[in-house]
Structures are given as structure tokens and as C-alpha cells.
Amino acid sequence: MSGRRIGLVAAEILTPVLLLAAIAIWTNTASSFYFPPLQEIGEAFAENWLFARVASDVLPSLFRLLAGFLTAAVLGVALGVLLGRVAWLRRQASPVIEFLRAVPPPALLPFTIIALGVESPAKIALIAFVCVWPILLGTMDGIAGIDLTQRDTGRSFQIRAMRSLFRVELPAASPQIFAGMRTSLPLAIILMVISEMVGATDGIGYFVVQSQRTFALPDMWSGIILLGILGYLLNLLFSLIEGRVLAWHRGAREQTR
């Protein structure tokens, strides 16, 4: 039984190692132009991202991403609370929101270029505009669906409206708010990258496309890998925050089981 467990752990550690080794061997022996040897990519990665281009490309990208995402979060939660509380407004707005959410986000890229140009604020606005809907809908459903006993408990203790919002309603809706944010996060990353590819003078997306145009393949791959790592880390960070904030939720669920 414990032999089996060791085997499972070994499998979990060994497969990525073996896969990397296989890629290294393959890229070295195949000598394909498009897939340069792994160590060349590694060198390019160290050269570009440790830390020569961090200030010029990585930080602008991250700034746009976070600014857009946080704007969406603030707006989405605020509007979501409003719509969650006011039923007639919700009924009016729901079809419009559902439609806007269904628009494939990249379709809005040309629109922001026309309306707002290609500078950072345009990209931030685009990210925020796309990311706001899932968060808004999540918050709205969460607030509208709050258990009446929870709300009445708040009322019966004469808790002031603001405190009730922050201590009762938002925490109660937080699982849905986070679900909305989880949907939005990958959209934010996608939009950051493509908006930098289409019209920009800096950023990781710009760098990757530039490297491709100049056929600097190791540079291009190093950028792709950096985007992968960023995606992974952002996801991890989000899960950590979500895990902390929603700890009560999991606890309560396990108890009712």
C-alpha cells in the first residue's frame, strides 16, 4: 500500500522532469528553426527577464492587467450590490448585461482603439470593460440571493446600513463574487496580451510579437514562457487569496455535510 503511494508521488515528480528532458533532447537534435534548443531559450530568458526588461516591459504589462482587473472588481461589486438590492433595476439591466457578457471580448479591441487610442488607459479600460460583467453578475446574484434570515438577523440587531453591507451582505455574497473574478482573470490576461500585440510600444505582448517579426526565436519563446509563468503565478495568487477569504465558506459547507 505504501509502496503504491511512493509510486504515485514519484510519478508526479518524474513526469514533468522527463517531459522537460525530452523537449531538451528533441530541440537539440531536431535543430528546427522554430524550436530552438532549450538552453538557448533559457539564456534568452535570463538575458531578457532577469531583469533587464522588467521595468520596460513586464511592469507596464502587469500595471495594465492589475489596474484593469481592479477597476472591474470595484465597479462590478459596486454595481452588483446596487442591482442586487433593487429588483426593478435588475430586471431592466439583466438582458443588456447578459448580452454584453456574451460579446467575445477581443471584438471590442478595435472599438477601444477608435474611442480611446492605444495608450495604457485604453488598454486598462478595455480590460476593465470586459472583466466587469462576470463580477457584476456574480455580485448581483450573490446579493439578491442572500438568505433572508441572514439579512433579518442584521436588521434585528439594528446594524447600520454600511456595516450591514460590509459585515453581512458582501461576505455572504463573496463565493459568487470570487466565482465571477475567477472567470474574469483569464480574460484580463488574454486582453492584456492581445492589446499589446495589436497596438503598443511596450509590454510583454509587444515584445513577443516584435521578436517574432525579427525572427529572434529564442527571445520569442522566452516571452511566451514568461507569459505562461505569469498566468500560472497570477492564478496561484488568486487561489491563495480566495482560499483565505472564503475559509469560512468551506468550513460551513463541510459542517452541513
Partner: protein, 242 residues
């Protein structure tokens, strides 16, 4: 009502109509456009990309998900790789697609497949791993062949997860296809939007954005409908059918 507000704002130039044309003007322009072949061709191109992206992703992700979900060993061996590759934004691969494919169907389908495979794979393996042990024991006690267990027990039981995975994959596939059309210049609605922008045909651009949104709404509705029918036996749907 919301439309009326926008109309008013645009007509009074409260928002410059260069940025936000009145909805009626957009409607007129897109109706005129619909008389032309290229309008329908763009829709067909986009839908073809979407369908291929989703279809190929399903052909990869569902069998792989079954395999991974039904063996603890394979699950553990693949988990680190999947967990790492899944959050990688598929748009990061656009430069590679530029190099490897011509600006045609293949490039955007490649992007769509790469992006749509992960959610479907994860949902499938999750569904397979969540089959009730008793349902498997029952099948085993009756000596049911492996093939029948997969098709009559594992898959139906994982169907709610599969449906969720397919719905997400469908959305993702459409997003990436349109991305491919805008960025790579592959024919379709995305390219039409971009061309309208370059030609400063603002109404037409908004018209195509609207069409893209309608496609999104329509595909969502189709999937919700299929989900309701396929899962009529499932607890979440029973209230509506019996």
C-alpha cells in the same frame, strides 16, 4: 430602455457619434450589409472556426479526460503538467501561430483548440473521478464489460461536468477564433470588425460587434438547451421536466 438612452446620447452628440453611433444608424447599416455575400461569409467563417476548435478540443479532451480520470496513476503523473499548462494564456502562442500557419482557418483553430482543451479536460476528469463508487461496484458485480461501463456508466454519470466543460469550451473557442481573426487576419467576423475600423466605418464596426455578441448569446442558449435535454435525469434539472 437602455437602448433609448444610448440613442438619445448619441443623437444629441452628448457622446460624439464618432465613438458611439446611434443604435438606429448601426441597425440600418448592418441590415444593408446583410444584403451582401461577405456578411454571411464572415459569419460562416467564424462559426466554422468555432465548431472546428470546439470539436477538435472535444476529441482530444474527452478521451484524455476519461483516461486520466479513471487511473490514479495517470492522474498523478499528468497533474503537474496540466496544472502548469492550463493557466497559460493561449494568446501567448499567437507569434508562434504567425510563424507556423498562414493567416487562414488553421491558425485560429489552433488557438481555439489550445484554449478550449483545458477546461474540458479538467471537467471531464473531474466528472469521471466523481462517479459514485457504488455505481461502479454495481457494474463490476454484474461483470459488465469495460466498454459498456465507459459508455453507459462513466460517461452518463460525468455528463453534468462534461456539459459544463463543453459550455466553457464553446465560449473560449469563440473568443479565440475572433482573436485569431483580429490579430492574425484570418477571415471571419473579427477581420470584418478590424477592416471596418481601418476604413473608419464606425457604424459597420459596431454592427459586426453586435453580430459577434449575438453569436455569443445564441451559442450560449443552444448549449443551455442541449444541457437541459441531456441532463433531464439529473437532480439539478428534474424540477423543470417532471
Amino acid at each position: 430602455m437602455v437602448l433609448a438612452v444610448i440613442e438619445l446620447a448619441a443623437r444629441t452628440e452628448l457622446i460624439p457619434s464618432r465613438f458611439l453611433p446611434p443604435p438606429t444608424a448601426v441597425a440600418v447599416r448592418i441590415v444593408a450589409e446583410a444584403a451582401q455575400g461577405r456578411f454571411w461569409l464572415a459569419i460562416v467563417d467564424t462559426l466554422a472556426g468555432w465548431a472546428l476548435g470546439l470539436g477538435i478540443a472535444a476529441l482530444i479532451a474527452i478521451p484524455a479526460g476519461i483516461l486520466i480520470g479513471s487511473s490514479e496513476f495517470v492522474y498523478r503523473a499528468t497533474r503537474p503538467i496540466i496544472e502548469f499548462l492550463r493557466p497559460v494564456p493561449s494568446v501567448a502562442l499567437i507569434p508562434l501561430v504567425f510563424l507556423l500557419f498562414s493567416p487562414s482557418l488553421e491558425g485560429k483553430v489552433f488557438l481555439a483548440v489550445f484554449a478550449a482543451t483545458w477546461p474540458l479536460l479538467v471537467q471531464t476528469q473531474y466528472g469521471i473521478r466523481n462517479v459514485l463508487p457504488l455505481q461502479l461496484d454495481t457494474a463490476r458485480s454484474f461483470q459488465i464489460s469495460r466498454h459498456r461501463v465507459i459508455f453507459r456508466v462513466l460517461l452518463p454519470s460525468a455528463l453534468p461536468y462534461l456539459a459544463t466543460g463543453l459550455r466553457i469550451a464553446s465560449t473560449v473557442s469563440l473568443i479565440l477564433v475572433i482573436t485569431g481573426e483580429i490579430v492574425l487576419g484570418a477571415p471571419g467576423i473579427g477581420k470584418a470588425i478590424n477592416e471596418a475600423r481601418e476604413g473608419a466605418a464606425v457604424e459597420l464596426m459596431y454592427g459586426y460587434v453586435l453580430i459577434a455578441g449575438m453569436l455569443g448569446v445564441m451559442l450560449n442558449a443552444v448549449f443551455a438547451g442541449v444541457e437541459r435535454r441531456a441532463l433531464h435525469w439529473h437532480a439539478s434539472q428534474r424540477g423543470t421536466t417532471t
